[in-house]
Symmetry: C2
Subunit: 476 residues, 2 copies
């Protein structure tokens, strides 16, 4: 059991700034009161503990709605703003939500047959009297995020009160915390990278400095002025921040403490450039199923342990399936209070762990000091600009086209995005690349669209006829 | 479930200093290895999970024995070094320990009929092969400390893995943590004030700077040189540190962050003097049953909320029995993951909580901002002519007099009034009884004025230097 975080935070540090956006700011007391009012409005439509979907850009209104939902102990399905209409329909249907809450600006992206309550309509709703829970159960679900595995079918991952709190606590024990902490959030709230910043803010009493979109100029201004202490970035964003700092010939303010860099490994060149502009980069290995970081590499080890994701956080354990030996590769397994208890919807019955261990599907090894190296991502995962792209999902989309007999997707190195997906297709009958592009565009988020289509006679397969995605690149 | 803290800490930060004593220091890796060796020696005599008593001064050897016991998951009864032989015999018998471990220097204080393994004998013991547990259960008991509470009968209080970890985590969320933290420990390890410093060290990766005895000159040297960042003190120790700093005309180093001041409220005068020498004082309300701090007053609130113990730490709840109104006095009740699950021995069957709430027996109130004020420990309450008289209030009045170093107040049976308060005073410089009477008269209602003043050399205190008001009467 834990206290209601929003209420407790407002009680403990009412006058501390909880959120900054543009020129405006809100104390934790103000956020609590606004969230309470949202909860009273939401209570007209949904009961405590019900499930809702949320679809909106990163604005203060989104934060207030999220905190309002938390006051009502609603399970929030965070919908990715980049998804196609079809992908959104799948998740909304699978999650069986009582209600979809969306910013009016984004409603047009949602399936037309779905009833939506806009944030603007919610503001007009009468508030009713409610009693909010002053305590939360550890196993209560706060958020649900969809992520695809080997099958290409997205699974809704539960993230509970305990998952989020132990993730935040473990991070604090590793990175340290002070009363002056301000976490710059330019990563999406619908991803665990952004959502976990909100959770840390409530638990630490730290300010969230929110931007609707990533903007390297604004980031650099905040970092140089000493108005933020921490920022979460993926590789491609870090590069843009570095370029901007180099262009302006500026360094990070001494207040600035940490770049938490996730979503795949960071090129050595970036680390060296970061050191020159006084940006301490901390690389991390995390995922939706672990409510953010599992292992994190201290910045002092950044150049000594190049390519490593560091050591587990205090309450976490990492091991390599089937071995205790250093330098032996195998599937990375994770255990700890931050690991999801499971899925919802179609996959609700599927166990997420074995004896408490999450089998990530990622391949890696531990060195002789216990530092983790992630060698290959699960199920041939492609990481493009920090977004996870699952080949199977794109292949499934292509196979739905009447002209496509077989499809295989893999990642191609890309200077800007790290990787981009490319597709290899065996045809039943003639079709143009343009038609396939248009077909995918209807079904997939833009970042998942193959950058190239290659028409081939056959795909590399093993004896069991299983597609060998890692051999696709040899067809080029 | 949690990882074995000692092993995990050695894995995560092997080269960080875990303990400093005199001119020596030990890394976490060294402590882990030495503790492991102790565990292998102890395993000759006790099995995993058994109960032992420990009786020794605060030396590195004690720390290694404690960590060794933790590797074996032993339940450690920490015996107070200032107890009488009779009191020690009671606790050892009540706890039914498998073994008593003691420093040779202290064996003579123990009951003669008890078999003791000295630390020195343990060092000579052959080490056997063992497998230590890599995981600990949340409800596993780490330590047991005896406390009398309101009844006068000492009860052995369990302090579990979860109690200690959530106490340390809650403290970190409140006070902040950094990699540079060094906690100066001059309070006894056999009290929760000292023992909790060890637990925080393991969880935070912070250095313990250990002293066998409190010594204000050494404390001041550490504080002024910037070699420590935090210190735990009780009021009387704080006064000695302040006097020494004033005598030397020195200020705390900018590295120094916090005096955590427990064991009763701190006189306003001390707070003002502390501010002048740059010592940020954080007052706390904690007890054995809550594995250290429950509520803590931030130093910025020290002079704004004089006499307050602050607000609860993040995962804790505090309420006043029978009321939700501000400023209404009643019994202080505490709930949270830091509250003991119960007692051992004679009181094993007695519930420590009601619906999760620990009834402390202490009287207090919450103000309109939710700050806790501890008015008095219930057992010390003096009832005089139907009026409630709280000794602490009278003592605070006396301590404001420039000639008074220490003051203790208790009730004396009185034919007319039932009880009357009497005062025991340790002087800094000469003063007449008449002057003190006049001084109090200005500050207190007539019924609160001490009927007698006794000038004494010292006041009765327990091992944590806490005033024992019930022993005052014996000074007569």
């Amino acid at each position: 059991m834990q206290p209601n975080w929003i209420k407790q935070r407002a009680y403990l540090t009412p006058n501390r700034i909880g959120l900054r956006f543009g020129g405006e700011s809100w104390t934790f007391q103000q956020l609590h009161e606004e969230a309470l009012y949202k909860a009273r409005q939401l209570a007209k439509f949904v009961g405590r503990g019900e499930r809702v979907a949320i679809f909106a850009p990163s604005t203060p209104e989104l934060i207030k709605v999220i905190y309002g939902c938390m006051h009502l102990q609603l399970e929030m399905v965070l919908l990715n703003g980049r998804l196609s209409t079809e992908e959104l329909a799948y998740q909304i249907e699978d999650a069986q939500v009582a209600m979809v809450l969306a910013a009016a600006s984004d409603v047009h992206k949602l399936p037309q047959n779905i009833e939506v309550m806009t944030f603007e309509q919610l503001i007009e709703t009468e508030a009713i009297e409610i009693n909010i829970a002053t305590e939360w159960q550890d196993n209560q679900t706060i958020s649900i995020m969809y992520t695809s595995g080997t099958t290409g079918f997205p699974k809704g991952v539960r993230q509970t009160v305990q998952n989020h709190s132990m993730s935040a606590i473990s991070s604090a024990l590793n990175l340290g915390i002070t009363e002056q902490d301000v976490w710059l959030c330019t990563v999406p709230i619908f991803h665990i990278s952004g959502f976990s910043i909100l959770m840390r803010s409530l638990l630490y009493g730290a300010t969230v400095c929110l931007y609707e979109k990533f903007d390297e100029q604004a980031c650099v201004q905040e970092i140089v002025a000493g108005r933020v202490t921490t920022i979460s970035l993926v590789s491609v964003m870090l590069e843009r921040v570095l370029s901007e700092m180099e262009r302006l010939q500026v360094q990070a303010h001494p207040n600035f403490k940490t770049v938490l860099a996730g979503g795949g490994s960071i090129p050595v060149d970036y680390l060296q450039r970061a050191a020159k502009v006084q940006l301490p980069v901390v690389q991390t290995y995390g995922m939706t199923e672990t409510s953010s970081q599992t292992a994190t590499l201290a910045s002092i080890d950044a150049l000594r342990k190049i390519g490593s994701a560091g050591k587990p956080l205090f309450f976490n354990e990492v091991r390599i399936q089937g071995t205790d030996e250093p330098f032996v590769e195998g599937e990375i397994c994770i255990r700890g209070p931050h690991v999801t208890p499971g899925y919802i919807g179609r996959f609700a019955e599927r166990a997420s762990t074995e004896n408490g261990w999450l089998l990530t599907g990622d391949i890696g090894y531990l060195d002789d000091e216990g530092y983790l190296y992630v060698v290959d991502r699960r199920a041939d995962l492609i990481i493009s600009g920090g977004e996870n792209v699952y080949p199977a999902e794109i292949e499934n989309a292509l196979l739905a086209h009447p002209s496509v007999l077989e499809a295989g997707v893999c990642g191609l190195m890309d200077d800007k995005w790290g990787q981009v997906p490319i597709a290899f297709v065996v045809l039943k009958q003639a079709v143009t690349e343009a038609e396939l592009q248009a077909f995918c565009h209807q079904r997939l988020a833009r970042y998942k669209l193959p950058k190239q289509f290659y028409f081939v006679d056959s795909l590399p397969r093993n004896g069991a006829n299983k597609l060998l995605r890692r051999k696709l690149i040899e067809l080029l």
